[in-house]
Structures are given as structure tokens and as C-alpha cells.
């Protein structure tokens, strides 16, 4: 499903906590559909967006669907570049240990399991954002 050979750098920026609003869930739905288009995809989690990746989400008490397991499946959709802003984590008292492990299997390296998630500081994330052809912000 590449579009006449056009390959763009496409970043999804997630800045909102899950469940309070639907943006996190519907952003994920775009990412899953978008994975079929063979673009250079990355995801960034900034500000309250980092709460989307916390472990042990349990929505039984609010009667909503827990969609957090889907993040772990992103590797199967060939989404391999997931950036989390260090400053956002720190302001919230979170570390990478509080987040779900996100990995993919590298077919060029005997299907070794590798980390998709990388914590980057603001300046590195700024550089990455500045290199994008398209930024979809949720």
C-alpha cells in the first residue's frame, strides 16, 4: 500500500492522558491503519501522553475498554521507533520501569527481540520532530 512510491517521515505525537479523552485510543487506531502504508513511522509520547504507556492499566472500575495491550502489539505492525520525552517522565515522577516494555523482532538479525522504546531528552526530540514530513498530533 505504498502510495506511488512516496515514502514520508511520519510522526504521531501523543500528548494526552488516556481515558479522560479519546485521543489516545483513536490515535492508536490511526497508527494501526497507517502501518499498512510503508512509510517511515515513529511515535512520540510527550507531556501527559507518557501516561498512555504505563503498566498495569485496569479500567474495570470506570467501565471503559482497556486498550493499553495494543501498544505491545505495535512491534508486529512494524512500528519500531517509539520516543518518550525524558523531561515529561521526570516531571511526572516516572521512569522507564513504570512503562510497558515495547519491542519488535528484527528480521535482519535472526528475529532478535529489540527495544522499540527510547527515552530521549527535549533537544533530541526537537531534532527528530524537525526532520518529519508530516506530524499528526493527538
Amino acid at each position: 500500500m505504498s502510495e506511488e512510491g512516496i515514502v514520508k517521515k511520519l510522526m504521531y505525537v501523543n500528548r494526552k492522558a488516556p481515558y479522560g479523552t479519546i485521543y489516545a485510543l483513536e490515535s492508536l487506531e490511526v497508527v494501526l491503519i497507517g502501518a499498512a502504508f510503508d512509510q517511515q513511522v515513529s511515535l512520540a509520547f510527550v507531556d501527559d501522553g507518557v501516561y498512555q504507556l504505563t503498566r498495569s492499566q485496569n479500567t474495570d472500575g470506570i467501565g471503559m475498554k482497556n486498550f493499553s495491550p495494543t501498544y505491545a502489539a505495535l512491534g508486529d505492525y512494524d512500528v519500531r521507533h517509539i520516543y518518550v520525552e525524558r523531561e515529561s517522565l521526570e516531571a511526572r515522577g516516572l521512569t522507564v520501569e513504570d512503562l510497558m516494555p515495547l519491542t519488535y523482532e528484527d528480521e535482519d538479525d535472526d528475529w532478535a527481540e529489540k527495544e522499540s522504546l527510547r527515552v530521549v531528552d527535549s533537544s533530541e526530540l526537537a531534532t527528530l520532530m524537525g526532520e518529519q514530513d508530516v506530524v499528526l498530533s493527538f
Partner: protein
């Protein structure tokens, strides 16, 4: 205790309607009365019968309709807010020359006075919004 509940955001986009529903259920279970649930702003979108949510997710609209039937709740959509956003009952549709209506069972459309009345008549008014 007599509660009035105000819901200011539509289904799914914001948690407001979910929180209001959980609160309403807990209040009813505890034996309290709900004088009225008033839907204002985008909250009127909770009253459409045309939603088709994913199978594995809750049905926000049906849940309200069922709670209303079970407990004889008064679910009111503000008419001015509803007209702006395309929520109509059969009467409203006819009056405005529209070829369809979309209000869900258990909801009715009425004026803002019903909100003021709920604020006055209820012991507590609790608001859920963005």
C-alpha cells in the same frame, strides 16, 4: 438525597458521560433519587440512537437509555444545544423540515429552564464536563 446531574460533553470523546453514568449508578444503588439528568453543550450527543460502537466497548447511549427505563430517569437534552448539533426528536424534525430524527429511547428534548429547575429542586447538582 435528590440529585441533579449535568453532562456537558458527548459520548466517547470525553470521559464526562462515563463518569456521570458511574456516579448516577452509585447514587441510585445507595437509594438516592435522581431528579433529572440534563445534557448540555456537546452533551446532547449522548442522546442519539444512531451510534454503533465497537463490539468490545461499552455502548454509552444504550446504557443511559437502559438506566432511564430501569429507574424511570428523566433524561433531558437542551433544545437549543441539540438544534445546533443535529439532535432532533420526531416533532423537532417535522417543525424544522428535516427528513429524519435521531433521538434515543428514554431521552426527551426540552428547554434550558429544565436545567435551572433541576438546580433549584435538587439537593445537589453535580456537573461532568471537559
Amino acid at each position: 438525597m435528590k440529585f441533579g446531574i449535568l453532562v456537558n460533553e458527548g459520548p466517547y470523546q470525553h470521559q464526562a458521560s462515563d463518569s456521570a453514568y458511574q456516579f448516577a449508578q452509585a447514587a441510585l444503588t445507595a437509594g438516592h433519587e435522581i431528579y433529572r439528568v440534563f445534557f448540555y453543550h456537546d452533551g446532547v450527543n449522548n442522546g442519539t440512537r444512531l451510534t454503533v460502537p465497537p463490539q468490545d466497548d461499552r455502548n454509552v447511549v444504550d446504557r443511559w437509555s437502559e438506566l432511564a427505563e430501569k429507574h424511570d430517569l428523566d433524561l433531558v437534552l437542551c433544545v437549543a444545544a441539540a438544534q445546533r448539533r443535529g439532535l432532533l426528536d420526531a416533532d423537532e424534525a417535522q417543525r424544522h423540515g428535516k427528513d429524519a430524527d435521531n433521538i434515543a429511547p428514554g431521552f426527551r428534548i426540552s428547554g434550558l429552564g429544565q436545567l435551572i429547575e433541576a438546580a433549584i429542586q435538587s439537593d445537589r447538582l453535580v456537573t461532568f464536563g471537559d
